[in-house]
C-alpha cells in the first residue's frame, strides 16, 4: 500500500501535460479530474493499491476509521485479482460517473474508489460530533431533556423517532453558494399547508448568500420582514417541541450544523411558550404562561414607568412611597432618565459579560456586579436604591421570557421606551407602546398575522394561548398554520 499526498501526484500530472489548467479536459480520466479538483486540499488522502489498480480518495477526518477499515481496506487487502469485480459489485458500492457527484460525495465523507474507468462511492461517513445533550438555551424541568446537536442526520433521526409516519416528508435543499449547507424542510403531508411548503422552499432556493452557518441566520434570510426588530420564526432546540410543531401543521426547517430548528409560521406568542407548559397540569401551565406575559409587560415598561413617574408624574405615587422614593433620590446628581439608562446599560454589560465568560469566571462577574451595583453605587450616591430594585426586577423579568432572541428584542425596545418616558412621561410610554403595537400588527410570518390569535381574533386558538387548556379541549390546530385538516384526530 502506498499512501501519498495528492499534491505530489498533481505535480507529476502537471509535468505530464503542461497546458492542462484547472478546467477538466476531456482526455483526462475521472481520477485525474478529481485529483485536480482537490488540489491544495492537504487534508485529503489518496490511497493506491498497485496490484488492483485501485485508488481510494477521501478525507480521513470525515470518515469513520473503523468502518473504512472493515468495509473497504480489509476486503481489498484480501481480495484476489479475479474476485475484484464481484467485490466492486457489492450493493453499497455505488457506481458514479459525474465528476460533480464524486466531489460532493467525497466532501460529504464518502470514499471514492477508482478502478480503471469505473468509480464507486462508499458511504463510511462518521465525522466527529457532539453527543446528544440537554439543550443549553432551552432547558426544561419536566419532559424530555435531549436537545438537537450540530448534525443534521442525528437531528432528523430524533424527529423521525418521534413522528413515526411515512407522511413526514423531508425536502433537502442546499443553501450557500460556497458552503452548500444542507437545509431540510420537514412537514407532514395532509396536515401542513402545501402552499406554505412551496413558498418556503421557494424562499430557501432564492437565498443568495455565500454561506449559512446557523438556523437563526437562515431564518433571517427567509423572513417576511427581515429588518424588523422582532424575529418572525421561532427556532427551538428540542425534538419534542419540533414534533409538536409538525403535528400542529407547521413546517420545520433544519439546517445542517445548527442545533436550532425553525418552526414556520410562528406567532409572537409562540415565543412565550415552552414544553413545560404542556407537561405540567393545565392549571399550573396556564399560571406559568400568565406569569410570562406579566414578565413581558414588566420587562418592557417597568423602568420606563419609574422614569416617567419620578420625572413627571409625582402625583401618581401614594405619599408614603413617595417619601421613600424622594429620599432615595435625594443624593443622586443625575436626572432619573440618565440614572436609569446608566443602570440599564450596566446590567446589559453584566449580562453580556456573563454570557461570554466561562462559568468559573462568570461567578466573579456575578459577585462584582452584585457588590458594585447593589451596594457601592447606592452608597456613593450615584443611583437610588429604588431604581436598583426596579432595574433588577425588569432584568429578572426579561429572562422569564423563554426565547433568548425574543428577550433580546424586547430589551432593546425597552430602551426606546425609557427614552420616550424621559422625554414625554406617560404620554411617551403610550406613544412607544403604540409604535410597537403598530409595528407588531404589520408583521407577518409566511403570511400569517404575527399577533394571532389575539389580533385577528381566533377564538379557537385561545385554548392554547394565554391559557393552556386541558388536552380534551384542544381539538384543533392553530389557524395560522392554515392546515387543510384543521381538526385534530380523525374527522
Amino acid at each position: 500500500m502506498i499512501r501519498r499526498k495528492p499534491k505530489k501526484l498533481i505535480k507529476k500530472l502537471k509535468e505530464l501535460n503542461d497546458q492542462q489548467q484547472s478546467e477538466p479536459s476531456l482526455d483526462l480520466s475521472l481520477y485525474e479530474q478529481v485529483v485536480n479538483e482537490l488540489e491544495g486540499c492537504s487534508d485529503s488522502e489518496d490511497v493506491f493499491f498497485p496490484e488492483h489498480h485501485v485508488h481510494f480518495v477521501f478525507f480521513n477526518h470525515l470518515v469513520d476509521t473503523d468502518r473504512f477499515k472493515a468495509e473497504i481496506l480489509d476486503p481489498f487487502y484480501h481480495v484476489h485479482k479475479e474476485e475484484l469485480d464481484s467485490l466492486l459489485n457489492r450493493s453499497f458500492y455505488k457506481p458514479v460517473t459525474e465528476l460533480k457527484k464524486i466531489i460532493e460525495g467525497v466532501l460529504d465523507g464518502q470514499v471514492a474508489i477508482f478502478n480503471q474507468e469505473r468509480v464507486f462511492l462508499v458511504n463510511v461517513a462518521g465525522p466527529e460530533k457532539r453527543n446528544i445533550q440537554p439543550s443549553e438555551t432551552e432547558t426544561t424541568i419536566t419532559g424530555p431533556h435531549e436537545g438537537f446537536i450540530e448534525s443534521g442526520e442525528t437531528n432528523l433521526s430524533m424527529i423521525r423517532r418521534r413522528v413515526k409516519t411515512s407522511r413526514l416528508k423531508v425536502n433537502k435543499l442546499p443553501v450557500g453558494e460556497v458552503t452548500k449547507t444542507n437545509a431540510y424542510l420537514l412537514y407532514i403531508k395532509g396536515i401542513a399547508n402545501e402552499e406554505l411548503v412551496s413558498e418556503l422552499t421557494d424562499r430557501i432556493e432564492r437565498i443568495e448568500i455565500d454561506a449559512v452557518y446557523d438556523a437563526h441566520m437562515l431564518s433571517q434570510l427567509i423572513e417576511d420582514q427581515p429588518n424588523s426588530l422582532f424575529p418572525q420564526f421561532i427556532a427551538r432546540e428540542r425534538p419534542d417541541s419540533i414534533a409538536a410543531g409538525l403535528v400542529e401543521g407547521k413546517i420545520i426547517i433544519l439546517l445542517e450544523g445548527s442545533p436550532a430548528v425553525i418552526i414556520a409560521p410562528s406567532s409572537f406568542f409562540d415565543f412565550f411558550e415552552t414544553g413545560d407548559d404542556y407537561y405540567q397540569r393545565w392549571l399550573t401551565g396556564t399560571a406559568t404562561r400568565l406569569l410570562r406575559f406579566g414578565a413581558f409587560i414588566i420587562t418592557i415598561a417597568f423602568t420606563a414607568l419609574y422614569v416617567s413617574v419620578t420625572s413627571y408624574h409625582y402625583e401618581m405615587i401614594p405619599e408614603s412611597l413617595l417619601t421613600t422614593l424622594a429620599v432615595s433620590r435625594g443624593k443622586v446628581p443625575f436626572d432619573p432618565i440618565y440614572e436609569a439608562l446608566l443602570m440599564e446599560i450596566t446590567i446589559e454589560f453584566l449580562r453580556e459579560a456573563g454570557a461570554r465568560l466561562p462559568t468559573k469566571v462568570g461567578q466573579t462577574i456575578g459577585i462584582v456586579g452584585g457588590i458594585v451595583i447593589g451596594q457601592a453605587a447606592v452608597q456613593a450616591g450615584i443611583t437610588s436604591n429604588v431604581l436598583i430594585i426596579v432595574v433588577a426586577i425588569s432584568a429578572i423579568a426579561s429572562f422569564v421570557v423563554p426565547s433568548y432572541i425574543m428577550s433580546a428584542s424586547i430589551r432593546l425596545a425597552r430602551f426606546g421606551l425609557i427614552l420616550l418616558a424621559g422625554l414625554l412621561g406617560n404620554l411617551g410610554i403610550v406613544i412607544g407602546l403604540t409604535i410597537i403595537v403598530i409595528h407588531l400588527s404589520s408583521l407577518t410570518s409566511v403570511g400569517a398575522p404575527y399577533l394571532a390569535p389575539l389580533s385577528p381574533f381566533f377564538p379557537s386558538d385561545w385554548k392554547d394561548f394565554l391559557l393552556r387548556a386541558p388536552y380534551k379541549m384542544m381539538k384543533s390546530r392553530p389557524t395560522i398554520s392554515r392546515s387543510p385538516k384543521k381538526r385534530k384526530l380523525k374527522e
Partner: protein
C-alpha cells in the same frame, strides 16, 4: 385567507372610530344642553344613528359587489365627481385634524402646560402617518390591540358605584337645558365615524351574509359605553357641578385611588391617545381613498401626507381651545350632514340607475 376584515373586527373598528375625544366632555355637554336627566338623550340620539345606519345598509344591500365610487360613477363620470370627492376628503381630514388638536389641547392642560402644543401635535401626526400608510387590514389588526388596551378603562366605572346616589338624578326630564338643537348636533357628532363603513365594506369578509350586523353591534357598544358613563356621571356629580366641569369623564377617572397608584388619570388619559389615533387614521384613510380616486397616480403615503399637511395648514392658527371647539362644531355639523346625506344621495343614484335599467351589478 387572512386579508379580509372579519365581522367581529368590523364591530371593534366601528366602536373605536366612533368613540373619540368628545367622550370626555359628553356628560357636560348633556348637562348644559339638556339639563336634568340628559343621559337619556344618548339613547335617543343613538336610535337616530341606528336609522342612519339602516340607510347605509340599504345602499350596500342594493348594490352588491360595487363600492361607493362605482355606484356614483355609474351615473356621473369621475371628472364631474372630482370636486365632490375633494370636498368630502377635505371635510373628513379637517375633522380628524381638529379632533387631534382637541386631544392635544387637553393633553396640554393635563401634563404639558409649558410645552409647545405644535410639537406635541406633530408627534401625534407622525403616529397617524405611521399607522395611516399601512393597509386597512393592518390598521384593523392594530385597532384590535388598541381596543384590548383601552376597553378596560370602561370597567373602572365600577369604582364609582359606592359614591353614586339616585337622589341626584332628580325626577325632572330635560329641564334647565340651554340649547337642545345644538346639543343634539353635538351628540350626533360624538357618534360619528360609522359612515366610514361605506368605504370599508369592500374590505370586509362577506362570507357571512349577515355581516352588516356587526356594524350595529359596534354602534351598540359605543352606546353602552356612552350612556353608562353619562348615567354614572349624573349620579356622581350634581347637575350644576356637571355644568361647570370641563371634562367630567377625566374627573371620574381622577377620583380613583388604589393602594399602589393614585391619580391614574395621568396615565389613562394618555391611553386615549390610541383611541383617538384610530378615529384620525380611519377618517384620513377614507379621505385618501377619495383623493386617490381623483388623482390615481398618488400612492397611499403621498395622499395621506398631502391630506395631513393641507389640513394642518388650513388649521394652522386654530390653537386656542375655544377656537378649536368652534371649528369642531362647524366641521362636525358638516360631517354629520354628510353622514346622513351621503347614503341618501347614494340611494337616489341607485334609484335613478335602476330606473334607467342599468343593472351592471
Amino acid at each position: 385567507m387572512f386579508e379580509k376584515i372579519a365581522p367581529f373586527h368590523l364591530a371593534i373598528l366601528i366602536y373605536m372610530i366612533q368613540s373619540g375625544v368628545t367622550f370626555f366632555k359628553l356628560p357636560r355637554m348633556l348637562a348644559v344642553n339638556f339639563g336634568t336627566n340628559g343621559w337619556l338623550m344618548v339613547v335617543i340620539v343613538s336610535f337616530i344613528v341606528m336609522i342612519n345606519l339602516l340607510l347605509i345598509s340599504l345602499v350596500i344591500r342594493f348594490r352588491v359587489g360595487e363600492n361607493v365610487f362605482e355606484i356614483m360613477e355609474g351615473l356621473i363620470s369621475v371628472k364631474w365627481m372630482a370636486p365632490f370627492y375633494l370636498l368630502l376628503a377635505l371635510t373628513w381630514s379637517l375633522l380628524s385634524i381638529l379632533v387631534g388638536k382637541d386631544f392635544i389641547s387637553i393633553t396640554q392642560v393635563l401634563s404639558f402646560q409649558n410645552t409647545n402644543s405644535t410639537s406635541l401635535f406633530v408627534i401625534l401626526m407622525v403616529l397617524v402617518f405611521y399607522l395611516g400608510m399601512k393597509d386597512i387590514y393592518t390598521i384593523s389588526k392594530a385597532t384590535n390591540i388598541f381596543f384590548i388596551l383601552t376597553i378596560g378603562i370602561f370597567f373602572l366605572i365600577i369604582y364609582h358605584i359606592p359614591y353614586t346616589s339616585l337622589e341626584r338624578l332628580t325626577p325632572f326630564i330635560f329641564k334647565e337645558g340651554k340649547n337642545t338643537i345644538e346639543g343634539i348636533v353635538q351628540l350626533y357628532t360624538a357618534f360619528l365615524g360609522f359612515e366610514i363603513v361605506l368605504f370599508l365594506f369592500p374590505y370586509v369578509d362577506q362570507s357571512k351574509p349577515k355581516w352588516f350586523r356587526s356594524v350595529y353591534y359596534g354602534h351598540f357598544l359605543t352606546t353602552v359605553v356612552y350612556s353608562v358613563t353619562c348615567f354614572v356621571s349624573y349620579l356622581f356629580f350634581s347637575l350644576n357641578q356637571l355644568k361647570i366641569t370641563s371634562y367630567p369623564v377625566l374627573n371620574l377617572i381622577a377620583y380613583i385611588e388604589i393602594e399602589l397608584i393614585e391619580r391614574i388619570e395621568t396615565f389613562v388619559f394618555n391611553l386615549f391617545l390610541i383611541k383617538i389615533l384610530v378615529t384620525l387614521v380611519l377618517y384620513l384613510w377614507a379621505s385618501s381613498l377619495l383623493l386617490e380616486r381623483v388623482i390615481p397616480a398618488l400612492s397611499r403615503k403621498q395622499s395621506v401626507a398631502i391630506l395631513i399637511i393641507t389640513s394642518m395648514l388650513i388649521t394652522l392658527n386654530v390653537d386656542v381651545m375655544s377656537e378649536i371647539a368652534d371649528w369642531l362644531l362647524v366641521v362636525g355639523f358638516v360631517a354629520a350632514a354628510l353622514a346622513i346625506g351621503l347614503p341618501i344621495i347614494l340611494l337616489i343614484v341607485i334609484g335613478i340607475r335602476t330606473y334607467r335599467g342599468d343593472h351592471r351589478a
